[in-house]
């Protein structure tokens, strides 16, 4: 079964995944119409800035067993084993934030949502774009990602790919970690800027 696989080293922090995610979860499923919707759709993937200002797309891991599911006071969080997805039932959610306290990755947000009862604040997180996948599309974040930081792939295939990349770094013709040259350069520049900034402040 395919799933969204995160390659954090390839993230340049462009946040297109966030925009695509929000649009995909809008009633209209269109970016242009989405901005006029109430409640305004919000992303479920969150791009953070690391220590060197590198991007990191923080997405629900759909853990098994899921700590949020075990902690849910209302029995609103459940797992669809076939889809490898942890879902939140907005009708059962009581907005108690117990899931936020349980999640070790900080992926939960609380707001009104198109799919929730109108006016009700509920816990919201990634649903692996189940509606899109059911139509034969791939998750919005992976579809829009330009650098391969988010890809939709079979886990075994992605693991093999990773192994091959590591193996390649041992050869004389070391194209480092399968990272596109531009992305590698961009990350190096970011690190250099941060270090230079810190040196100047000192």
């Amino acid at each position: 079964m395919k799933q969204v696989i995160v390659n954090p080293e390839k993230c340049v922090g462009c946040m297109q995944c966030m925009l695509a995610c929000a649009a995909a979860h809008a009633t209209s499923e269109s970016l242009f119409a989405a901005v006029h919707e109430t409640p305004k759709p919000r992303p479920r993937v969150h791009v953070g800035a690391g220590l060197f200002n590198q991007g990191f797309p923080n997405r629900c891991r759909h853990c098994d067993p899921a700590p949020c599911q075990l902690a849910c006071l209302a029995g609103a969080i459940f797992r669809d084993a076939a889809a490898h997805t942890v879902f939140i039932n907005p009708d059962r959610c009581i907005n108690c934030a117990s899931c936020a306290m349980a999640c070790p990755y900080g992926v939960l947000r609380f707001h009104e949502e198109a799919a929730a009862p109108p006016g009700k604040t509920v816990a919201v997180k990634c649903d692996n774009c189940d509606a899109r996948v059911a139509r034969g599309q791939i998750p919005a974040c992976a579809e829009v990602c330009k650098t391969g930081a988010l890809v939709y792939d079979e886990m075994t295939h992605a693991m093999n790919e990773k192994t091959r990349q590591v193996a390649r770094t041992m050869s004389s013709d070391a194209a480092a970690q399968g990272l596109p040259d531009t992305v590698a350069l961009y990350n190096t520049l970011k690190q250099a800027t941060m270090k230079a900034g810190a040196a100047i402040r000192r």
């Binding site: 209302a74 029995g75 059962r92 934030a97 936020a100 070790p104 990755y105 900080g106």
Partner: protein
């Protein structure tokens, strides 16, 4: 294999689920005095405040006993446990034998023992039935409510009654509610928020008697003052329900002492939830963290061990998250340490900023946290406390409102 589980709270239910996951043929008996289907105990305060209906309390659609092939024995308490002959004696006279026993009997609310305490409309708040009783009293019209105790139960009761527009007076011993859960800064923010919604607080006084005919009308305080009240909720804490265990049969401190596999001092007898006393991860000593998520996890782990799959419990961790009108409060571990000799406390924000956080470190290990507002990333801090991960980045980064998982990579 015949398993017996005392208690149908979340610890008992999760143990049964874990046993069934491992062993499809084992016999599982479950004893409880509560006849209502297994429900979410923390949700009763949402029912009291009126934001969720009573019908939403059950945790499972359908009959969980049938689905898991559990033999329920409901409506009776265990009167006596015979650890040698391995059976329990119920209050109604029946005996149930077992090969493995889980004591997930939970805890009972402490009652207040003063003259007039038997009057009507004086309640505790522990079970769904308690809240139905509160609602029945409220439906007849309540003007002034009195809440005794500023702990979690007292706070939840007061918060719920205020949401219903009922005037509430709270009697507490500390200067602010939730003194066991939060530090003074967060405590003052919470107090202010509750006072703005109509809570009045009296510090350092207690009730010496209640007055009324059939129902409570007045409370007389030890300060000589009298308070008009037509509803009283007693939040004086809970005690583990262990009355059925004879002295010295099982090692008990305040709760049943358990090893990392949640086994008591007697082999084949396990304990989980509010009745179990395990190692507190933040304090590094034995403690009962009588909270629902801990009971949920312990029940599951106890169930695996009972079914023969060795799973260790890393210990328990106190934690709470509350939405208090306009404030969101999360507190984890040693949130308000006293005598902090080798502890370092870092604080930022406060009442004016509308956001506050306080982190407690023991050298490079995070051991406690209090967050007021912007609590979404609190789970990461909770995980760092629980796993005792040394903090390798500047501690100030954890304090930042922009802190997120990417800072740890």
């Amino acid at each position: 294999m015949k398993h017996l589980i005392i208690g149908n709270g979340i610890a008992g239910i999760n143990a049964a689920r874990a046993i069934r996951e491992m062993d499809t043929s084992a016999a599982i008996f479950m004893v409880s005095d509560e006849t209502f289907p297994p429900y979410s105990r923390p949700m009763i305060s949402y029912v009291l405040e009126g934001s969720e209906p009573h019908e939403k309390l059950p945790l499972f659609a359908g009959n969980i006993y049938e689905d898991l092939d559990i033999t329920p024995v409901l409506g009776h308490r265990v009167a006596h446990l015979d650890v040698k002959k391995k059976f329990v004696h119920l209050e109604n006279g029946t005996d149930i034998d077992f090969q493995k026993l889980l004591i997930a009997s939970g805890a009972d609310a402490r009652h207040i023992r003063v003259p007039g305490a038997e009057l009507g409309n004086i309640f505790t708040m522990r079970t769904q039935k308690d809240v139905l009783d509160h609602l029945a009293a409220i439906s007849l019209g309540i003007k002034n409510a009195l809440v005794l105790g500023g702990g979690l139960v007292g706070f939840k009761a007061a918060h719920a009654l205020l949401k219903r527009g009922i005037k509430v007076t709270m009697l507490i011993t500390s200067a602010y509610p939730l003194a066991m859960q939060v530090d003074p800064t967060a405590g003052r923010m919470i107090l202010k928020e509750l006072q703005a919604r109509g809570l009045s607080v009296k510090v350092g006084v207690s009730v010496s008697s209640f007055d009324g005919e059939t129902r409570v009308k007045k409370a007389c305080l030890d300060s000589g003052e009298t308070l008009d009240c037509d509803l009283v909720i007693v939040g004086k804490g809970v005690d583990p329900s262990l009355g059925f265990i004879a002295e010295n049969d099982i090692e008990i401190d305040y709760g049943i002492l358990v090893d990392p596999y949640l086994c008591s001092s007697v082999s084949d007898i396990y304990a989980a939830g509010d009745a179990a006393e395990s190692m507190d991860i933040a304090r590094q000593k034995r403690w009962i963290n009588a909270i629902w998520p801990e009971a949920a996890i312990q029940g599951r782990i106890a169930g695996y061990n009972m079914a023969g799959r060795k799973v260790a419990c890393p210990g328990s961790l106190g934690r709470n998250v509350m939405r208090i009108f306009g404030l969101d409060v999360m507190t984890v571990g040693l949130a308000n340490p006293d005598g902090a000799d080798d502890l370092e406390i870092i604080q930022a924000g406060g009442e004016k900023a509308g956001v506050y956080r306080s982190l407690v470190f023991c050298r490079d290990i995070l051991v406690g946290a209090v967050l007021v507002n912007q609590i979404e990333q609190g789970g990461i801090l909770r995980a760092m406390i629980e796993n005792r991960i040394p903090v390798r980045i500047p501690k100030a980064y954890l304090m930042s409102l922009h802190f997120d998982y990417s800072k740890l990579l």
